[in-house]
Structure formats: structure tokens, C-alpha cells
């Protein structure tokens, strides 16, 4: 990550301690588990091992193996078990080690968890959180690098959160745990060590509220997850050329804060949407379409999109680096939109 510490966005304030994203997530889980005995964790190697990225270390020591459950390598099985537990009074938080392994549990998430509330006429609810990762650039190759959040954003009945900062991660995760619906919570595995200000006192961040990570007036960069950092880097490049980019982070793709996005589009008249999912049929397409529908007559140029290349993520560093949007690419598109190319 090019930016080790992020103190931007509307919620950042001076004088607050800085912690990593991993710590922020751990704090959110610990606080919610203390507050509500129904909250429990399950997943592969989550207990003693504290998760391969060490995000969960210490939790089994505090809450015991009854509330921090190591599962077999059985994604469909343990997600299904979590759905059943959620329907009957518990509030499970499931860990899917890599986002790619969501596909093994797809039926349980898309056909079961997402549908239960609706099919039961609102009589049953599934207060389930599925925490998982997205993002390439770890040289992990095609089965450990995908950003599949668009798939889940597509399914009615699921909510989808994509925190970019430690502050957002903590506040959004607490909201996710308190939500009565299944929430897919995507963490970028390159960002666990990113630091940022997080207050000591309790707070939550409501879903469906975008955050302006940097204000600007010439072009809007709508960016999710680690692409927020790419957008901020691009904004710094552009600022040197007199182009003031506004960086808007939706934070949740479902629900989506259409109003803030449209307001920003109206203000700047130019929008680039950047997301690390595959570009085709992706989150960028949805956001671009919404903005075009709502703010067409305020736009000075067509909405542009940048996403991961539509290829399986390659292993070789020289190839992998080609697949993810870069600040330079974002800046180049912004210059084109602003007539400075």
C-alpha cells in the first residue's frame, strides 16, 4: 500500500490514536462480543491461530473456544450452519479466509441466507456477517486474488460493505453485526497493516452513507476499498496540475448512497468510478449507470470506469501489476475528462 497512514475523510479528527485496520476489526469484534453474548465467530484457523493474517489473535483467549470456533475446511457446511444459527437467535460472524472461497458457499449465501427473510414473509431473519477478503497484488494467483463483491451486490437480500480505512472498518463492522440481515464484509488483504485514526469511544457508521475522503471541484473519483488509496494518489498527482479531484467512497455498495454520489457528480460534472472487481458487469457499471440516470444533464462528459482487467489474476508480478488500476491511469482518464490530455 502506498499510503501507510490515512487521516482523511469526514470522520478523521486530530489527536485520535492511530491503529491498524487489523486492530480496528479485532476491536469491533471484541466490543460486540462483550456487548452481546449471541455474537460468536467461526471459520478456519480462527481460534489459536488467530487467522492467517492474525486479524483475530487474542479473541479465543478472551471469549473461549465456545465463541471462537475453528471449523473444518468446509465452507458450504459452516456457512450453512451459521445461517441456521442466525435464524434461531444467534449472531454469527463467519470468516472466509480468501474471498475466492466464497464460491464454495455460494448456495448457502445466495440461495439460503439472502432469501430467508423474503420467502418467510418477513417472519425469519438472518443476522449473519460473512467477513472475507478481496484484492490482488499479493502474487497469490488466480484462486486467491479475486474481488467478488459485485456478485453479492447483485443478490437482493444481502448487504455489502467495503471499508477502506481502520475507522470505517471498525464502525461498519459494528453496524454489520447489529444488522438483522446477512452482510458480506470485504477487507482488502493488503490493507490490514494500514494505520489510521480511530477514537477510543464507541461509534458505529450507518450503512448507505458515502464518505468524502477528499473534497474537490473538477472531477469526482468514486472509489471503493483499496481503490480509495489509488484515487487519493491520483488526486495528489492531479492537484499538482491544478485539477482538484473529489474522492468519494461509498463504503457500502448495498445499500448505495446514491444521493451523495449524484451530488458530487452535479458539482464536478465529471465522474470516474474505480473498483477492484472485474470491470465487466461490475460495481463500476452500476454506479456509472446510476449517476448517468440521475445526473445526466449535469455531466460534462461520459462517466468513465476503471476496474480489474477481465482476466483471471495472473501469478507473475509483471503480469499481475497490469491487472489493477493505478493512480497514473486514473489521473490520465481525469485529464482526458477535464480536457487537459
Amino acid at each position: 500500500m502506498s499510503t501507510p497512514s490515512l487521516s482523511v475523510g469526514s470522520d478523521a479528527r486530530a489527536g485520535v490514536r492511530e491503529i491498524t485496520m487489523a486492530q480496528a476489526i479485532r476491536e469491533a469484534l471484541a466490543e460486540e462480543m462483550r456487548r452481546d453474548p449471541r455474537v460468536f465467530l467461526l471459520g478456519e484457523d480462527v481460534a489459536e491461530a488467530g487467522h492467517p493474517f492474525k486479524v483475530l489473535s487474542g479473541l479465543v483467549q478472551e471469549f473461549g473456544p465456545e465463541r471462537v470456533l475453528d471449523t473444518p475446511i468446509s465452507e458450504a457446511g459452516f456457512v450453512g450452519i451459521a445461517v441456521g444459527a442466525a435464524m434461531t437467535g444467534m449472531r454469527p460472524v463467519v470468516d472466509i479466509m480468501f474471498g475466492d472461497f466464497l464460491t464454495l458457499a455460494m448456495d448457502q449465501i445466495a440461495n439460503q441466507a439472502a432469501k430467508v427473510c423474503y420467502m418467510s414473509g418477513g417472519k425469519l431473519r438472518v443476522p449473519l456477517v460473512v467477513r472475507t477478503t478481496l484484492g490482488a497484488t499479493r502474487r497469490s494467483a488466480a484462486q486467491h486474488s479475486q474481488s467478488l463483491h459485485a456478485w453479492f451486490s447483485h443478490i437482493p437480500g444481502l448487504k455489502v460493505a467495503l471499508p477502506a480505512t481502520p475507522y470505517d472498518a471498525k464502525g461498519l463492522l459494528k453496524t454489520a453485526i447489529r444488522d438483522d440481515n446477512p452482510v458480506l464484509f470485504f477487507e482488502d488483504k493488503m490493507m490490514y497493516q494500514v494505520k489510521g485514526p480511530v477514537p477510543e469511544e464507541e461509534y458505529t457508521i450507518p450503512f448507505g452513507v458515502a464518505d468524502i475522503k477528499r473534497p474537490g471541484r473538477h472531477v469526482t473519483l468514486v472509489a471503493t476499498s483499496s481503490m480509495v488509496y489509488v484515487a487519493l494518489d491520483a488526486a495528489r498527482i492531479l492537484a499538482q496540475e491544478g485539477i482538484e479531484a473529489e474522492v468519494v467512497d461509498p463504503r457500502t455498495t448495498v445499500p448505495l448512497d446514491v444521493e451523495t454520489l449524484v451530488q458530487s457528480a452535479r458539482k464536478t460534472g465529471r465522474v470516474i468510478v474505480i473498483d477492484e472487481g472485474y470491470r465487466r458487469y461490475g460495481v463500476t457499471a452500476e454506479i456509472a449507470a446510476v449517476i448517468a440516470e440521475e445526473a445526466f444533464y449535469d455531466l460534462e462528459a461520459p462517466v468513465r470506469r476503471l476496474g480489474a482487467m477481465d482476466v483471471p489474476v495472473p501469478f507473475s508480478p509483471v503480469l499481475e501489476d497490469e491487472t489493477v488500476p493505478t493512480p497514473e491511469q486514473v489521473a490520465a482518464v481525469a485529464r482526458e475528462l477535464c480536457g487537459r490530455a
Partner: protein, 311 residues
């Protein structure tokens, strides 16, 4: 067989070296300690027989006939790698040696192996397919779904479960209920347990399974008890919270598959110590030459990134 095991050992130690000196990108799951399983099983196969492999797959690839230099090229993301640098350590495939690919999804190849066996049967060849997997894959439903069909359709597939005791950082007894052998047996698939550190035992059992498969009698299951000498992956250095130093030392001292074969051969008067020294020297040289070649080999052209999405 000793030579192949020694080659895998030397290869893996070199991978470790590449990794800790930060010359290798990505993840590396070492096979050291488990060499007798891959070698014993693959020795019972022909080149045109199939295997599917796992995230801990270097040993399977080499045992089935992959070359050291091209494997290093793949591990370093170079153009001459088996997958042109696109697959890396966890995805090496080499159809020329019957290797349908390593898989980074635990249990992910159970269907592929049974499918290859179905295809061999439909095409009327007497090829067999071996599905290598760790005991962690016993948690995955697809393993059982595929086994059910393999048994129903008498497919020439051999399930080789490498039980190295740990699923990542958790002992398999905490994740695996009941008797492992009872699982294939429930489908009517004959299953046997072998000492995975003794290559002669593995070979004998594999030959029985292969013969059954070629006779059209269907699937078999081999439970090979083994141990990984290193961590789950190269970055897994502090292992004390899930397994003891004494346990590791004991396996390395008493249950090293290379030493077991070597001392048997010496005692049986089949070979002299000097012979083994010579073999080890030769494989070390092959490995050093392979890695030197791969280190200076070119990367693929960035334009290759969008090639091979479709055939």
C-alpha cells in the same frame, strides 16, 4: 526412487532459500517430509496416467515427470514456466506428464480427477487418474459427491489422502470426525492405510490400486500417514502454538522417508552409502543449475496478461 525423493527434497530446500532471500513472489507450501507419497504413487503410474495436485504440489509435479528448470521458471513467474508464469507455485500443470494441475482450492480437484477417470473410461483407454489431497480436504463436500459417482460408475480413480496431521494450523483430529477409512468404504470403495514415510509400502499399495483400476474394478482410496517437516507455508515459522518442537524433531530423526529407504537398501546390501552421496550430489547440481537458469530467464511480455482467457 531414492533419486526422485532426493530431487524433491533438494528442490524444496532451494524454494525455501529463494523465499527467505525474497527472490520468489507469492506463497510456498513445502513438501519436505512427504516425498515418499508422491514418489511411491507416481512410480506405479505411466506417463499418460493423470494426476491432480494441491497447493503443496511441487513433489507431485516432479514425481510425475516435470523438469526442475521449468518448474523454477514457473515459481519465479518467468515466461518459460510450465504455465508461462500465470499459475505460480500453486497451479503448476503439465499435460505432457499427465499433470492436470495443482489446485489452490482445498478439495477443488476431486471432481476433476474423477472426470479424467470418466473420460479415460469413455475413450476406452486404460489410463488411471490419481487425486492427491490433504486430509483437510476431507471436510469438503465435493470429495464425497465425486467419490459417490466414482464408485457408482466404477471409475479408474485413486484417492490419495496425504495425512500430514495438520490442516494449516489445526490438528486434523479437531476438524475430522470419525474414521477416515470408513468414509470411502461407505461408498464401497476399497481403502487401505499405509505408512507414507516408507516409499516401498506406498508403491506396493499404489500398484494394487492401479491394477484394480486398469482391470475396470473402479476406485480405490489410500490413506498415507505422513508429516510436513516445515510449516504450512514458508512464512509459518513460529509453530509452537500448534505443534511441539519435539514432535518435529522426532519425525525428522525417526521418520525421514529418505533415510528410511536408504538404511533399508544398505542393510539389504542393495547399495552402498557412496552411491547415495553420488545421487544427492547429482540432484543438488540439477537443482542449482535449474534455479540459476530460472533466475536469469526473462519474464513474459506484459501483453500476455490477456492471452489464454479463452482457448
Amino acid at each position: 526412487m531414492y533419486e526422485l525423493m532426493a530431487k524433491i527434497r533438494a528442490f524444496e530446500e532451494q524454494v525455501n532459500e529463494l523465499y527467505v532471500t525474497r527472490r520468489m513472489p507469492g506463497l510456498a507450501h513445502l513438501y519436505v517430509g512427504e516425498e515418499a507419497v508422491a514418489v511411491g504413487v507416481c512410480q506405479a503410474l505411466r506417463r499418460e496416467d493423470y494426476i491432480t495436485s494441491t497447493h503443496r504440489g511441487h513433489g507431485h509435479c516432479l514425481a510425475k515427470g516435470a523438469r526442475v528448470d521449468r518448474m523454477f521458471c514457473e515459481l519465479l513467474g518467468k515466461a518459460e514456466g510450465y504455465c508461462r508464469g500465470k499459475g505460480g507455485s500453486m497451479h503448476i500443470a503439465d499435460p505432457d506428464s499427465g499433470n492436470l494441475g495443482a489446485n489452490a482450492i482445498v478439495g477443488g480437484s476431486a471432481g476433476i480427477a474423477a472426470g479424467a477417470a470418466l473420460s479415460a473410461k469413455m475413450r476406452g483407454t486404460d489410463q488411471v487418474a490419481v487425486c492427491f489431497f490433504g486430509e483437510g480436504a476431507l471436510g469438503q463436500g465435493i470429495v464425497y459427491e465425486a467419490m459417490n459417482m466414482a464408485a457408482l460408475w466404477k471409475l479408474p480413480v485413486i484417492y490419495v489422502c496425504e495425512n500430514n496431521l495438520y490442516n494449516e494450523y489445526t490438528h486434523y483430529r479437531e476438524t475430522t470426525a470419525g474414521d477416515i477409512l470408513a468414509r470411502p468404504r461407505a461408498f464401497g470403495i476399497p481403502a487401505e492405510e499405509v505408512d507414507g514415510q516408507d516409499v516401498r509400502q506406498v508403491l506396493a499399495a499404489a500398484r494394487r490400486a492401479v491394477a484394480r483400476a486398469r482391470r475396470g474394478e473402479g476406485a480405490s482410496f489410500l490413506l498415507c500417514n505422513t508429516y510436513r517437516f516445515y510449516g504450512h507455508h514458508v512464512g509459518d515459522v513460529d509453530r509452537s502454538y500448534y505443534r511441539s518442537k519435539e514432535e518435529e524433531e522426532w519425525w525428522k530423526r525417526e521418520r525421514d522417508p529418505l533415510r528410511i529407504l536408504r538404511s533399508w537398501m544398505v542393510q539389504a546390501g542393495l547399495a552402498e552409502e557412496a552411491e547415495f552421496e553420488r545421487i544427492e550430489q547429482a540432484v543438488r547440481e540439477e537443482v542449482l543449475a535449474g534455479v540459476a537458469y530460472a533466475l536469469q530467464a526473462p519474464y513474459p511480455d506484459p501483453s500476455e496478461v490477456s492471452q489464454h482467457v479463452y482457448a
